[in-house]
C-alpha cells in the first residue's frame, strides 16, 4: 500500500447521477481510486462510460441540474472536496486541482487575450499586482514551449493554432502549480504529430512540478506511453484497475480485452492485410435501463447465466489488479 502522505487524491465510492426526462441514471457508480504525487492514472473507456463525468465530479463542475454527486468522498490533499461550500471550492479549483479539456479550439474565451486568461487564473488565487501576474503568464507560456511568449500573450485565441491553444490551456491550468491535473482527452482534437508533442509536454511538466495526473482517454496507445496505473470504466462503473504492465500483459476483464483487440495493427510486410478491424459487438447500454447483472454481459462472448443475474464484485487478482468479472479466471484461455 502507498504511504498515505504521498496520496494527492483519494476517491471513495463516488456516485454521480443525472435526473433526465427518461429517468434517473447513474453516470458514475461507486468508483474509487487514488493518485499519488507525480503519478499518472489513466481512465479508459468508450464514449458515454462515465470518464468525463468522473473528471467533472472531481472538480464539482457537473452541471446541476440535471446532474448531482450523491455519494462518496473526494479527498484532495486531506480535504474532502464534497464537504466544502461553493466559495471554498472555488478557492480550490484552478489552484490545487486544475483541468484541461478536450477542445482547445473552443475552451479559450475568444474575446480575451491569452495572457489575460492566464492572469485571471493566477490572480483568482494569488494576491499580486496585474503586472506581476502578467509576468507569470508570460513565464508559463514559455514553460509550455510557446515561441515568443511575450508576443503570444497579447494575442487572441483565434490567432493561435490548435496545438498552441492546448499549450496555452496547459499553461493556464498549471499557473498556480496545482497538486492534481485532470486532462480530459487532451489530445483527441489535435493532429497526430501534435498529439505526441502535447503528451510529452504534459508528462515533462508533471515530472518537473510533481503534479498528480488523471488522464482521461479512449486511446490505449496513449495509456501505454504515459500512465503508471489504469482504470477501465464501463457503463459508469470501474470494471478493472491495474498497473499498466499488468493490464497490458494480462487483462482480466473481457471488455478490456476487447478494447485492446480493437487497436488496429499494421500487418507485417508480405502478410495478408487484415480484412476487418476488430470491434466489440453491440453498443454501450442505456444507462437508464441497465441490466441487473454485469452491464457488459449482453456484448460479452463469455457471458453465462450468472453474469446476467448478478453484478460481479471487484476481485483482487494480486498486486492490486482488480477486475469485476465472474469469468475473469477463464478470460485468458477462451479469448
Amino acid at each position: 500500500m502507498a504511504d498515505k502522505s504521498d496520496l494527492v487524491l483519494e476517491v471513495k465510492n463516488l456516485k454521480t447521477v443525472f435526473f433526465t426526462n427518461s429517468g434517473l441514471f447513474k453516470a458514475v457508480d461507486d468508483v474509487s481510486f487514488t493518485v499519488k504525487r507525480g503519478e499518472t492514472l489513466a481512465i479508459v473507456g468508450e464514449s458515454g462510460c462515465g470518464k468525463s463525468v468522473t473528471a467533472l465530479s472531481l472538480m464539482r463542475l457537473v452541471p446541476d441540474p440535471p446532474g448531482r454527486i450523491v455519494g462518496g468522498t473526494v479527498t484532495l490533499e486531506g480535504t474532502d472536496l464534497l464537504a466544502l461550500d461553493e466559495a471554498q471550492m472555488r478557492a480550490v479549483r484552478g489552484n490545487r486541482i486544475s483541468m484541461i479539456f478536450q477542445e482547445p479550439m473552443t475552451s479559450l474565451n475568444p474575446v480575451m487575450r491569452i495572457g489575460d486568461q492566464i492572469v485571471e487564473a493566477v490572480r483568482l488565487h494569488r494576491a499580486m499586482s496585474a503586472k506581476a501576474a502578467w509576468n507569470i503568464a508570460v513565464e508559463m507560456l514559455r514553460l509550455v514551449r510557446i515561441p515568443e511568449p511575450a508576443r503570444r500573450a497579447r494575442e487572441y485565441p483565434h490567432q493561435l493554432s490548435g496545438g498552441m491553444r492546448q499549450r496555452a490551456m496547459i499553461a493556464m491550468a498549471l499557473a498556480c502549480r496545482p497538486a492534481l491535473l485532470i486532462a480530459d482527452e487532451p489530445t483527441t482534437a489535435l493532429d497526430v504529430t501534435i498529439q505526441a508533442q502535447i503528451l510529452a509536454l504534459i508528462l515533462d511538466l508533471q515530472k518537473e512540478l510533481g503534479t498528480g495526473l488523471v488522464l482521461i482517454t479512449h486511446d490505449l496507445g496513449v495509456v501505454a506511453q504515459t500512465a503508471q496505473r489504469v482504470i477501465v470504466m464501463y457503463a459508469g462503473r470501474k470494471v478493472e484497475e491495474a498497473s499498466v504492465e499488468a493490464l497490458f500483459a494480462d487483462p482480466k476483464h473481457p471488455y478490456t480485452r476487447g478494447l485492446m483487440a480493437s487497436i488496429p495493427s499494421v500487418p507485417a510486410s508480405g502478410a495478408a492485410t487484415q480484412a476487418r478491424l476488430n470491434e466489440i459487438p453491440g453498443t454501450v447500454p442505456s444507462l437508464v435501463r441497465l441490466p441487473p447483472g454485469c452491464a457488459f454481459a449482453p456484448r460479452c462472448k463469455l457471458a453465462v447465466k450468472r453474469c446476467q443475474d448478478e453484478y460481479p464484485p471487484l476481485m483482487d487478482w494480486g498486486g492490486g489488479h482488480l477486475a469485476a468479472c465472474w469469468r475473469a479466471a477463464d478470460v485468458a484461455e477462451v479469448a
Partner: protein, 315 residues
C-alpha cells in the same frame, strides 16, 4: 482595423447617396404637390397663377435639376425655405432636433440599462419563476404599442396625481425635467428594452453553453465573473445590433409619442410637413434621419470591432 474603418466609411457614403435618390423620387411619386394643395384649399384655379407659383418654387424644372439643387444645398447646409411657413427650413428644423435627440438618447439608454441586466438575469436563472416573470414582462413590452402605453400613462397620472406630464420646454425643477423627458422616453424605450432583454437572454443562453465558460469555472471564477466578464462580453454582439436597429425604429415610435405627449420635436414636425407636401422640410428631415440611422449602423460596426477581436484582426 484601418482598412475595415475605411471600407465601412465608403459603404456609408454610397448608402447615403442611394437613400437621397430614393427619398427625392419617392416624394415626387406621391400625387399632388404644394401648389395643388394650396389651390385646392383656396378653391381657385387659374392655370397662369399656378404656373407662376410652380416656377417660383422651382418645381417646374426637370427632376434631375431639382435633385441637384437640393442635394448640393443640403451638403452646403442650405436647406431651402419651408413652403408653408416661408422661413428657412434649417431654422424650422434645428431647434426641434435637441428635443427629439434627448428623447431618443434617453429611450436608448433606458432600453440598454434595463434590457441587458434583466436579460442576463433571465438567462442565468433560466427556468425559474423569476425567468418566467421577466419573460412575461418583456412579451408585454413587445406587444404594447407605444401610443397606447403613452395614453395609459397619461390617464393614470391624471387619475393618480390629478395632472398630466405635459411637455415643458423650461423645466423649473428636477421633477418637472423627469416628467418632461423621462416619462415619454420610457414609454418609447419600453418596447426596445423588452427586445434588448430577449436578445440578451437568448444570446447569453447560447454563450453559457460554450466550453470556455466551463474553463472559466474550472479556474475558480465566481458566478458573477463568469456571467458578466466571460459570458456577457461574448453575448453582447447581437445585442448591439438590435440596439442599433432599434435606434432607427425609434423615430417611428417617437412620431406617435411626441404626438401623444404634445412634444414639439422633429418627429411630429415631420408628419405635419408630409401632410403639406412641404418638400424642403420633408426631404431634408428624412435625409437627416437617414444620416442618423446610417451613422448608428456605422457605430454598431465599429463597436463590433471593439468587442470582437476576430473582426478587428481579419484584415
Amino acid at each position: 482595423m484601418f482598412a475595415y474603418l475605411v471600407r465601412r466609411l465608403f459603404l456609408m457614403l454610397v448608402t447615403l447617396f442611394g437613400i437621397s435618390v430614393v427619398i427625392f423620387f419617392l416624394l415626387r411619386i406621391v400625387p399632388g404637390n404644394i401648389v395643388d394643395i394650396l389651390f385646392a384649399a383656396a378653391g381657385y384655379v387659374d392655370p397662369a397663377d399656378k404656373a407662376n407659383l410652380e416656377k417660383e418654387l422651382g418645381i417646374d424644372q426637370p427632376l434631375v435639376v431639382q435633385y441637384w439643387h437640393w442635394i448640393s444645398g443640403f451638403l452646403r447646409g442650405d436647406f431651402g425655405y419651408s413652403y408653408v411657413s416661408e422661413k428657412p427650413a434649417l431654422q424650422e428644423i434645428l431647434p426641434r432636433i435637441p428635443i427629439t435627440a434627448q428623447l431618443a438618447g434617453l429611450a436608448l439608454l433606458f432600453s440598454a440599462s434595463i434590457g441587458i441586466p434583466l436579460g442576463v438575469i433571465s438567462a442565468v436563472k433560466q427556468g425559474t419563476r423569476l425567468d418566467y416573470a421577466l419573460r412575461v414582462v418583456s412579451l408585454s413590452g413587445l406587444s404594447l404599442p407605444s401610443f397606447w402605453l403613452g395614453l395609459l400613462v397619461l390617464t393614470a397620472s391624471v387619475a393618480m396625481f390629478g395632472q398630466m406630464p405635459l411637455f415643458n420646454p423650461n423645466p423649473q425643477s428636477f421633477g418637472e425635467a423627469v416628467a418632461t423627458y423621462c416619462i415619454p422616453a420610457m414609454v418609447v424605450g419600453f418596447r426596445s428594452s423588452a427586445l434588448t432583454m430577449r436578445i440578451t437572454r437568448s444570446s447569453m443562453l447560447e454563450v453559457l453553453r460554450q466550453d470556455y465558460i466551463r474553463t472559466a469555472r474550472a479556474k475558480g471564477a465566481s458566478d458573477a465573473a463568469v456571467n458578466y466578464q466571460h459570458a456577457l462580453k461574448n453575448a453582447i454582439l447581437p445585442v448591439i445590433t438590435v440596439i442599433g436597429i432599434e435606434a432607427a425604429f425609434l423615430i417611428g415610435g417617437l412620431i406617435v409619442t411626441e404626438t401623444v405627449f404634445n412634444i414639439p420635436g422633429v418627429a411630429r414636425f415631420l408628419v405635419e410637413a408630409i401632410r403639406w407636401r412641404d418638400y424642403p422640410i420633408v426631404q431634408n428631415l428624412v435625409m437627416l434621419i437617414a444620416v442618423v440611422v446610417v451613422s448608428a449602423n456605422f457605430i454598431v460596426d465599429m463597436l463590433y470591432a471593439v468587442f470582437d477581436p476576430r473582426i478587428r484582426y481579419t484584415d
